[in-house]
Symmetry: C2
Subunit: 279 residues, 2 copies
C-alpha cells in the first residue's frame, strides 16, 4: 500500500510535463521509519539539499518537508518514506525554465520483507556485467537517472542472489545496485571512493563514522576486483537493510567476519546524532 | 499550449509510482509534424521499438500509437509530437515487476520559434565542460536519463549560442545536447560513432543516407577535437531543425560550406522513404 503527498496534497498525479519524468531531472531519498521516527533524517535532508545544489534546483524547505514526511509516516512501527524532488515543469527542451517550481513528492511504502537471515547469516551477491559511466558532476548524489541500476537488476532472477555489484567503465568496484560495499583487508576497512560515479549512501557515512571506534584503519580509495578477491570480509549496507555480511560473490566464498559483526552491533547500539553525509 | 494523451485518454496525470519518473525507465521521441504529416514516422517508431527492446520494455503497438499521434496532431501546419514510453509502475526498487504495463504518453507541442537565420546563415556553438559517461548498453537509444544534457545546457545563457557540443569522458567529440554533429574534412563527411554514448538521431541517419548521393566519402568513426579544429565545414542536425551550418565553435570560425548546402538542398527535395535508423 502506498500513500502519497505531492506538494503537500493527497494526490498521486504528476504532470506529464514534469522534468522528473522527461529527463530524470531530480533527486530522491529512501528513508527508514521505525516506531514513527525517521531514521537519519538530518543526513537524508543534507544529501537531498546537496543534490539540489548540484543540479541547480531550488533548495527544499526542510522543515516543511519533515512535517509532510512525519504526517504521512505517523506512528508507523516500520515503513519506508520515499521523497522525490524534481525541478518541476517547464523550459524548452533541456534548458531549464526561468523560474522553475520544484515538485515535492512524499510516498509512504510498506517495509520490504527481507529475510532476517540476510543480516544474521549473510547474503550471496553477483558481479554485474553492466558498468557505471563516469559522471563526476553527478557522482555521490541520489539523482533520478537510474537506468544503469535498472539494467543491472535485470541481469539475474535467482531469488538467492540478494544484490549485484557494479564496476565502473574503468573496471573499478564502485557499489551494489541498491547498496554501498565495504571490504576488510590487511586490518583495513576499505570502501570505494565515489568521485566519478556511484551513490554516497547515508548508511555508508554512518559505517565510516562508527568504524572510527574500532582498532582498524579506514580508507576511502579506488578499489580493484583484486582487492575484493583478496578480502577477508565483505559487507554491503543501505538505510533499509543496515549491514548485510556478504558470504559469497559469484563462486567465491567469504566468512562472516569479526569487523562486520562489530559494526552491526555498533549500528544497533549507538544513537545517530550525525547530520552529514560524505562522498 | 500542450495537448496530452496518456494511454489513449485525454489526461495529463502520470502516477507518482511510474518508473519513468522514479528511474527514467523509459524512452522518448520528438517528431516534427508538418502539414498534418508526421515526418520520418517509420524511423522514429523503429528507434522507439529498438529502445524498448534494449531496456526490456514490451514492444509498442505501432499502429495504435500512430493513430493516437495522428489524432492529436490533426492537420496541424507545424507542431511537435513528443512520445514517451515508460515501463509503467511497479516492482520492488530497481527490480522490474513481473508483468509491467507500459505507460504511453503523447504530447502535442507548439513548434519552437527558431530564427530562420540559423539554417540560412549558420549558428555559433560552444564546447561544454560536461562530459558524457560511457554506457554501451544505453548508447544510441533515446532514453529518459538526460541529466547530462540538462547540466550541459545550464552552462550557458548567451542567446546567440544555439547549441553545446559534448565530449565523452575519454575526450572524444560525440554530439550536441539536442543534435548530432557532422564534419567535412579532406573531402570526407565524418560523424562520431555512438557505440559508447550519445543519441543516434533520426536526422543523422537521414543525412548519412543522403550523403551517398554526393561525391564524398562518409565515415562513422571516433572523432577527436583535433578533427573539429581542422574541419572545413561543420553542421548539426535534428528532426526539428533539419541541418544548421555551424559557423563558430567558441573562438574558431568556420564557413558555411558547399557540402552542408548540398545536404540542406537534398533534405528539402528528396522525399524520405526510409524506415530505419542507425548507430
Amino acid at each position: 500500500m502506498i500513500k502519497t503527498l505531492i506538494n503537500g496534497k493527497m494526490t498521486d498525479c504528476v504532470a506529464s510535463t514534469d522534468r522528473g519524468l522527461l529527463y530524470g531531472d531530480g533527486l530522491f531519498e529512501t528513508i527508514a521509519v521505525i516506531d514513527g521516527s525517521m531514521r537519519h533524517w538530518p543526513r537524508h535532508l543534507s544529501r537531498l539539499q546537496a543534490g539540489c545544489d548540484r543540479l541547480g534546483i531550488e533548495a527544499v524547505d526542510g522543515a516543511a518537508l519533515a512535517h509532510e514526511c512525519q504526517s504521512l509516516a505517523g506512528d508507523s512501527a516500520k515503513s519506508v518514506l520515499k521523497v522525490i524532488v524534481t525541478r518541476g515543469s517547464g523550459g524548452r527542451g533541456y534548458r531549464i525554465p526561468d523560474k522553475p517550481s520544484p515538485t515535492r513528492i512524499v510516498q509512504l511504502h510498506d517495509w520490504p520483507a527481507y529475510p532476517p537471515a540476510c543480516a544474521e547469516r549473510g547474503v550471496a551477491v553477483r558481479v554485474c556485467n553492466a558498468r557505471l559511466g563516469h559522471h563526476p558532476a553527478l557522482a555521490g548524489i541520489k539523482h533520478l537517472n537510474r537506468l544503469e541500476q535498472v539494467l543491472a537488476r535485470q541481469e539475474w532472477e535467482d531469488a538467492d542472489i540478494m544484490e549485484g555489484l557494479l564496476l565502473d567503465s574503468a573496471g573499478y568496484l564502485i557499489e551494489g545496485t541498491m547498496s554501498n560495499i565495504f571490504l576488510v583487508r590487511d586490518e583495513t576497512l576499505l570502501t570505494p571512493d565515489l568521485l566519478r560515479c556511484g551513490v554516497a549512501g547515508i548508511m555508508r557515512t554512518r559505517v565510516l563514522e562508527l568504524a572510527d571506534r574500532l582498532p582498524i584503519d579506514v580508507q576511502i580509495c579506488p578499489v580493484k576486483m583484486k582487492h575484493l578477491q583478496e578480502a577477508d570480509e565483505v559487507f554491503i549496507c543501505n538505510s533499509l537493510i543496515g549491514i548485510w555480511p556478504v558470504v559469497a560473490v559469484d563462486a567465491s566464498d567469504y566468512g562472516k567476519g569479526a569487523v562486520t559483526v562489530q559494526l552491526q552491533a555498533l549500528l544497533d547500539s549507538c544513537p545517530d546524532t550525525g547530520n552529514n553525509w560524505q562522498i
